[in-house]
Symmetry: D3
Subunit: 326 residues, 6 copies
């Protein structure tokens, strides 16, 4: 029924304006964010039919999260609503060199972390769905979420649905050992792994050249496609983006895009969304190109979600013209 | 050492601008609030030496709370800092008739609720202190807080320190029965009770005329002074304020002040602060006058804390001139 | 398939902050608005399945309009997207006594006005739909829109779908004579007419007591249900709201609600949405109650859309408590 | 050459947003204000040719003041620019009942106060000018300003130019005795006096009914026209406005306008501007009507200057319709 | 009578704050812009007497445009006011690498585009005027504007007034062929051509080195002075600025200025203004220097108009000191 | 009693948002600033007990300054409050290349400048205090301030309190000759001199390599420690920071830190605070490291005060990781 279904937590994102520190601010700009929701929203913006599944509290904050998902065309009809728990928050503090941008999470007691296996009608949702996506954050939220994640990955595989998984290791949520144990239950049922070099090493101990890292997924779990996103950090406000995809024994590389950073959150999820879109439509190479375009452009847009259209992606792919577009 | 010491929780207060509903906002104005902190800040603004005691997380939000207490001259050196727990939040949604202003608390897991007896050096703090204040919110936060509240009230009494207690019943935090059981452990050691008619009835079952309610405190607990704050609600944005004090068998009444409501939060705590100030300096009647002045003016000032000076109070007491003051 | 389908134009609404005049402002707050879209959004917020049909330009402004419709759960899949035309705008200038709030429309050349009959697959959309709604603004936009409105009303009737029609006469868009000629082609196929006393007189020449006005619709067009919304204007910032419904020979009246006006736009559409919801679920009387509750509350909420839930409506219907809700 | 020439100081006006107190704000909204500049701007907005004369520092603040004067069509070519002195400031703190709105001036050392007689080419400016206006603030600024004021009033009289003078007594700038001594040098050369009851009594000791006060100007100084502005203060945010004019032995009265106060600054100057406009065009009675219309509407508009057009005035004079104007 | 008279359209410029995309914003900052108005405002700021001529609607938006012109000292007395048409708008979306800044125009139906020949008293306006300026946008607005442009250029030439013309080709408004046909009617009466390399090639087919391009104007139309502005684009937020002027067979070059881009709109018009100022006062070389100074500094200032003074220009010409100026 | 006591003026800092020029802004962000207050606040943030001494007006602006000092834990109990004088202001205009950031002071008539010797109980304050700090701005404010500065330096020396002095030469306040004469009365009683190369040359005529400059202080005044702060200016928005300390014949150097400038005000005072903290705790070398860390980070934080913690300093000293910190 859907092109893409994603499972995960979303939170309110509170940001002090104008590079202020959290401690000094008198206001917060509020948007919403969550890795899997971003993927669902971004693929919807590119034209795919997507749904985002989660557990939300029946209060204004919970509704705000669902509203914003729908704003981008994401189906929210499978969200589990509950009177227990809260909407998680995270605070972002934008910096400039030498002060790095930082995040403080306030996600304890979130409704999303109270999700357990058996609560969602996956059979119904996944029937006819082309791809299921989640990230390593979801199983890290709680024991229930861990089982719920394994459950859905298995059901997706069973339903003939492709699966994509972004490692997204969060050291504040669980240990690398716990993450590894969990990932090992999941990875052999995943068609597309997205990771950074750091996460692959930190959790799975994979080292070496990018290609080597990718191959280790293939060797250990039979992963058909491994994408490694490569962020070059020049300063806090400038850098580069590219990625590398290993698929069926072949390595695909892309140009390195220069970036001036307005908001780097959600760049990885933009890559994932672009890759899924391109991959489902035309294959790995187009996935790589669109994923990198999405990710590079994301750095220029405030918020976690990538407010772009396919037309913006096309322009990026055709030329790097930095003059005013009239 | 202090004129007033207060114990309680403080939180970040997040408010959508321009009467927006929480669900629709894209920004929050942030200040801090907490009943006892407001009392400590307000008496400090009037010239008393005050300290506020609490437990705060060692993060930007915790620091923000302590900073703002200090901004008003409140001593924060007795705060217990902890790596556990978070800073609680509350969301305020300002309404206009017929939509009432509302509050949503997000205080679960707050560091303040993790406070227990024995954590604070009360003997040292209370030595030479004239008055200790807390409210019914503090013992409602957790079992530990309940015991810590009883502990400090007893120590204050033992130290020869006056005690004031604002019932402040919060039905979302505990049942009326639990509140009653707790209050009965406390009230016989309290010199000044501040309450609304509603709280006195809801928790203690006191009914009748205002004087009757006040007398029941006196009869049951030997309370020397009972102040009942009387808010008249005309519309969501207009109303009146006055109060009545029963002290040593005598009833004191005040004029009824008209109010146009900019922000009614903290009005009760402004009364308490004004009453304490006036009472400590000149006695019950002056306490009543200054308490009501503080409370009435508070409705015109954004935030929980009353950004006024004694000069503002004097002007109010001398004349009700609503023309531009140049 | 839907509970409610609505057809109409929506525009960007630009508002100078803080009661500034348009000429003096240096910024605009931007939301979206449109009578029929507001109805679709509001019934969706109450739990009905709704769709909004319109014509929008394929640019950021057009997308913003569709996004915000979806944000409230409105189906936007039947919108006609076009490279011709623009997104209309309107500027709102909020006043206070004695300066009335005013609106300047800038809707010339809007994509919505370029809609003509035959462009929308009504047969498919209306199949199984319970109610179709539009207002007198839609046929006023252009000759094509006039014919498209007649077309859909006829198809709705043919499909066994109830129809509701809000007169919404806009003197800036067409003459009363033109409006009358058009309405006469429509009204005999309308199940629910919503109007003000003013519009009924201005366009159709109906005068007399409210009941008399309502009866004239019934007599002339056989209208089963006529709702007359009654706004009491005290000052620019205060007033009252109630309404009267005439149905099958019976008159239903409601209490008069006091209002403090934050933003009175969309109050009529809130009534319509509430009436439709109540009527479809329980009948005319419940429609009246919920319609008035929705309309009264709307005055306290910024924007054209009514950011409420059924829970807010229930609270209003149960008690008029203007104290802080904790 | 001009219809109206005005002399006076103008300053930056700094206002904390949202009813905040000065002490608590983290931002100021900045506009400009000055009694005589407001008159010049307001008559220009109504269609008269006006010039405003002052002394300004050659810095961004000085330029901002001149820019904003020109924005309303006021001729600024006679301003004296200087490297000495600063642009004065004033802080406005908006209140709500029971806290009155208040003003703190920070005008010491202003360039305007350094103006002395002989610095401005009045003969050239006043040739062919119909009316010269200033207020009691100008001579209060410094000894030099006092002499400069007397100089220009005398030159205006000599040039056959009508003169208008608003008493505008500012107790913070000079004593009532000093003001009286100065006004007695001026008033016998003034054609139109504008005053409040309060100023007339405070400075000149005039008491009694409004007509009596007006007559005393006529008796003592031969003033042809005396306008008394009458502000009714209900609450800090609501009130009334009307005025009374005594001219050549006849008393003119007007309706009392209800007002909801957004910003009451500049209302008196709006009256003056409207009166001058009406008086110069059609006589005293029309002056009264337009003056009151201008003053009443001003309360609804942020800033000292009245951002209206003659069309707004006409609407007010024709009907008091508080419904939305589309 | 004037040093510079300019003819053209001006519009409201709406900009989402903080690099937001149009689709995601909830507010717009509003200023005004228009190539020829910017030139008139900028030369006025440098001390020249300038007038701007256009057609504006008699509504708040039209008045806002005229107000802001006057704010900078521009004479607006020759504007044609009309009840037909609207004020055009344009939306600016600021980007960062790799997303270019972009503009969406919403100028259809603008009053300015309804201007035709014979509507303006050019003989009166141009008498004694030193220079007339317009750009290729004006004739592109409509057929009437095209003829009005040819009319005024001819009248300026006849009145002995210098003429300057900025090619400013806008592909969204007309084809290169139409532009060429129009420009060929104009260019032989133009004393100063300002162009980019791109426009010269796109419309007139001129290629080669900068000097060659300039010479082709001279050869084909006898243009005495040709200025080519040279923008170096490094990233979306950084670049360089310089220009080259060909006059009477001689080529003038300038240093290349480094720029960090806050707002690059109006840089070309700043060059034009600076060039005209320098040229009229001291000749071509000074024009080049001041033009480049103006253009470079403009990139650091929000809005289309260059809020600088001659003192700022002098500082730039004397030293490139990037330390804080106290 | 204190670790650090500082004497100096503090002012309100008014800043137009978004790189606007002062002349164009419609709002100011307001914080407070003052070189010595920044030092006191910054050392307090690092954990030292500090007091700031000054003279402030008893009005909201004066209170705002004291409030903000207390917010950072600074003791304000020794401030002299007065009804004379005002709170000084300064306006900051942030620029981008090629427009430098600039400051306009409006500090004439400030209460702080009215401070004279004998007004402050230095003996009491300095007893047991480890270090007294002031800068060359304080004696520049007035003759009284000059004598008060000499007075306190002498008393500090007498009390066995270390003294630090930042040359901070302000050419707008006094001549280099006057500064030199004053500094010569002070420098022989100063333990730590902080200066830029520019100030040392401008006031004292010291030239040569950095070490040479430092040695001249030592040679002429016996200064034990001389710190020279070294700012590298690349563009208006980028640069570098390092410093060099000469102590007891030894030269200490540090790494050069890259900076992206959000707000460079207070960087020097951050160095001073960090140096004092490190020096008092561990000695010169640690002072240099912490001073440079503080200064470098300060460039990324809005306002004059450095909203950091020791933890932020540690992170900087341990690694230069510009990636997002989660």
């Amino acid at each position: 029924m859907y092109d893409v279904v994603a499972l995960g937590e979303a939170m309110l994102r509170l940001v002090p304006p104008n590079y202020q520190r959290l401690e000094q601010t008198t206001s917060f700009n509020v948007t919403i964010g969550g890795a899997e929701l971003s993927v669902a929203a971004n693929v919807s913006r590119l034209g795919l039919r997507s749904a985002w599944v989660s557990k939300l509290p029946t209060n204004p904050m919970g509704r705000m999260i669902a509203n914003k998902a729908r704003e981008h065309g994401v189906d929210t009809s499978h969200i589990v609503w509950t009177k227990e728990g809260r909407a998680g928050l995270y605070f972002v503090e934008f910096g400039s060199t030498p002060r790095a941008t930082s995040v403080i999470y306030d996600r304890g007691g979130a409704a999303a972390s109270m999700l357990g296996p058996g609560e969602i009608k996956w059979d119904e949702i996944l029937k006819g769905t082309r791809l299921f996506h989640t990230s390593g954050i979801t199983p890290a939220l709680s024991q229930g979420c861990r089982e719920a994640t394994v459950e859905v990955i298995e059901k997706a595989r069973a339903a003939g649905c492709k699966t994509s998984f972004d490692l997204n290791y969060r050291a504040k949520l669980w240990s690398a050992a716990d993450a590894k144990a969990c990932f090992e239950r999941i990875l052999d049922k995943v068609d597309i792994v997205i990771t950074t070099q750091f996460d692959a090493e930190e959790v799975l101990g994979y080292t070496g050249e990018y290609e080597d890292i990718a191959k280790q997924f293939s060797d250990n779990f039979g992963t058909p496609i491994v994408a490694i996103t490569l962020r070059g950090v020049k300063t806090v406000l400038t850098g580069t983006w590219t990625s590398l995809v290993y698929a069926e024994g072949k390595v695909y590389r892309d140009d390195v895009a220069e970036i001036e950073i307005v908001d780097r959150f959600g760049a990885g999820d933009s890559f994932t969304a672009g890759f899924i879109y391109g991959y489902l439509n035309e294959g790995v190479e187009q996935g790589l190109r669109i994923g990198d375009a999405m990710a590079a452009i994301k750095h220029s847009i405030p918020g976690d979600i990538n407010w772009i259209t396919m037309e913006d992606v096309q322009k990026f792919l055709e030329s790097k013209d930095f003059r005013v577009q009239r």
